[in-house]
């Protein structure tokens, strides 16, 4: 394999991994704390993309300072995090925590279906393009190949997210509370932790991250109906591979999937679509808890 190809695979893979991490980390946070496999995560992504594209369009049409476009991306995600936290967690999930896990997945699937149309009601079916931030950052030559800086910046954003999450979980009070809730819900409740509040806040964070994934990707894609559908299963795959509920797991899962997808795109395009799910299946078979969660024994 020649060097150039290797570099393309690595850089493409890293970019794709970063994108996957952004999308998957919110899903895994919500699963870790609430034990809910949240299909509406695809909606968060899609809404993030749409809202960011709209705001970016407004921003540049008003000819405001160019770098403000990035502000719009974060603004869109933060806004959606709060709204979805209230609507989905307070409005729906909290009535379902005592129900069977399959029922909860299905309820989020139902909400996902409904939200697909809400998107069309708000934004209609024509695609949106918000290329300006991408144009703004220009490009870089690496070993004779051209990469968009915007795509490369995704690596930085993901790393920042990972660092902030790590810091929050290990160094802050909220992190300790979260770990307590993850470890034993009832126990933490009896210790005076307001579990409802923790659930709401985590869900908002998860939704924010999902929306941020979409918002940040928006400038690089054509934002159109259906973009959330693929993202859901992709994020599932990443989270399963890494270990459901584990943040380092999401990182590893994203890297595994991102690099292997990039490798298959450049080396064996025929397998591109299923390589991710093949890895997911292999991991589930060999280590159903994922690469990052310890297996648990059962006693009678």
């Amino acid at each position: 394999m020649d060097l150039q190809l290797l570099i393309v695979i690595i850089v493409d893979g890293l970019i794709y991994s970063s994108y996957l991490f952004m999308v998957a980390v919110g899903l895994t946070v919500i699963f870790g704390v609430q034990k809910v496999l949240n299909v509406t995560h695809g909606s968060f992504f899609a809404f993030g993309a749409y809202l960011a594209a709209t705001l970016i369009g407004v921003w540049y049409n008003a000819e405001l300072p160019a770098f403000g476009g990035f502000l719009m991306i974060f603004l869109a995600a933060a806004f959606l995090g709060v709204v979805f936290g209230l609507v989905i967690e307070r409005g729906l999930l909290r009535y379902l925590y005592h129900r069977d896990e399959h029922i909860v997945v299905l309820a989020t699937f139902a909400a996902f279906l409904a939200l697909e149309d809400v998107i069309i009601l708000i934004w209609a079916t024509d695609p949106y393009f918000a290329y300006q931030p991408m144009e703004l950052l220009g490009w870089t030559d690496i070993a004779g190949l051209t990469f968009d800086n915007y795509n490369l910046s995704m690596v930085g954003v993901s790393m920042t997210i990972a660092l902030i999450m790590w810091f929050t979980l290990t160094r802050t009070r909220f992190g300790k509370i979260l770990l307590a809730v993850i470890f034993d819900r009832e126990m933490s409740q009896s210790m005076g932790i307001n579990v409802n509040k923790v659930f709401l806040v985590t869900f908002m964070i998860g939704a924010f991250l999902g929306a941020l994934g979409g918002a940040y990707v928006a400038p690089t894609i054509s934002v159109q109906p259906g973009i959330g559908v693929e993202v859901v299963v992709l994020a599932f795959a990443v989270v399963v591979i890494g270990g459901m509920g584990s943040i380092p797991g999401a990182l590893i899962g994203a890297l595994v999937v991102g690099i292997s997808r990039a490798a298959s795109v450049h080396l064996l395009p025929e397998v591109e679509l299923f390589v991710i799910y093949a890895i997911m299946a292999v991991v589930l078979v060999l280590r159903p808890e994922g690469l990052f969660a310890p297996p648990q024994a059962r006693k009678i």
Binding site: E101, H102, A110, L113, F236, V240, F274, M280, A281, V285
Partner: protein, 322 residues
């Protein structure tokens, strides 16, 4: 309770007669909805068996699509007979389920659900890329022949409908019988307590494997019928993950109380979808999702629980599969 001709038997028999008569009166689009309901209902019946064992598959589009493609491919080698095609589709998926079952029987809960999803997405990825199978365009399926006769025009669907209705009737009765058998009762044993099941002398994994093969056969059957009804197979409308979601949707909508409910649920599903799509194309998914949410929140045991609300008798009937 163990009589062969119980309420479900009569319900299904009357249902069969009604829809066979209706078949000749219905407009073509309604007949098509009926066909689709029977196809998807069959898959949901397979999911019902798993559901009673406490297992949910988010990937039964795998067996649905596998059965559908099996029919399409069997035509390529010259098999045009409907019955033969359906048998091939059913068996093909049954075999696939048998093979995968050795693996899946070891998994429970969300892992079982997701492993199924992974396998269905692998098939999706393969089919979408395989040029010989038409990639994302899929392949066409011709009108089948019935024991040497090939009906034309409107008769094609009328015949297929009759044919499917009769097979579905037999299959539904068989599943009903199965659920009230000792092996069928093990669905509950698996769900409630595997350790006890082992210590009663039966392998929980084996019980799950059997159920998985049944569900695969049923999904393959559904896929085969769908392929013949639509006249076309492709990855997106048969194997992609939202299809698996539809099947679970129907299972929830119907409730797991009775095999007949599954087909009523499937019909309701197809009707809601068709009407929503025709009259409110902008918000059909909103209506579908809304319906599902209402069911999940207010009718946790599906439409079937309505009948139980109406006739509160039970208690004296001990059979877990009345």
């Amino acid at each position: 309770m163990t009589r062969f001709m119980d309420k479900t038997f009569w319900g299904l028999t009357i249902g069969l007669v009604v829809i066979l008569v209706a078949n000749f009166l219905l407009e073509d689009w309604l007949r098509f909805i009926g066909l689709q309901s029977m196809a998807r209902g069959a898959v949901a019946l397979g999911l019902l068996i798993l559901w009673r064992a406490g297992l949910v598959s988010f990937g039964h589009a795998l067996f649905f699509g596998w059965g559908a493609y099996a029919v399409a491919l069997s035509q390529k080698i010259g098999i045009t007979d409907a019955l033969l095609g359906i048998i091939i589709g059913t068996i093909a998926s049954g075999l696939l389920a048998f093979a995968l079952g050795f693996l899946l029987r070891r998994y429970r809960a969300i892992f079982f659900a997701l492993l199924n999803l992974a396998f269905s997405m692998i098939l999706y990825g393969v089919l979408a890329k395989l040029e010989v199978l038409g990639s994302t365009d899929g392949i066409g399926v011709k009108q089948p022949s019935y024991f040497g006769i090939t009906p034309e025009g409107a008769n094609a669907h009328i015949t297929l409908f009759c044919f499917t209705a009769i097979i579905v009737y037999i299959v539904a009765l068989a599943v009903h019988r199965y659920l009230s058998s000792t092996l069928g009762a093990m669905t509950i044993a698996v769900r409630e307590n595997e350790i006890r099941l082992e210590y009663l002398g039966y392998s929980a994994e084996k019980a799950i494997h059997v159920k998985y093969v049944f569900s695969g056969l049923l999904a393959g059957f559904g896929g085969a019928v769908m392929a013949l009804a639509v006249g076309h197979v492709d990855p997106d409308s048969m194997v992609y993950w939202p299809n698996s979601g539809d099947f679970v949707f129907i299972t929830i909508l119907s409730g797991t109380g009775n095999v007949a409910a599954t087909f009523i649920g499937a019909l309701a599903f197809e009707l809601i979808r068709t009407f929503a799509f025709d009259y409110a194309p902008q918000i059909w998914q909103l209506l579908m999702g809304g319906t599902l949410l209402v069911i999940v929140m207010f009718l946790p045991n599906g439409l079937w629980s309505l009948t139980e609300h109406l006739g509160k008798r039970r208690k004296s009937a001990p059979s877990p599969a009345e």
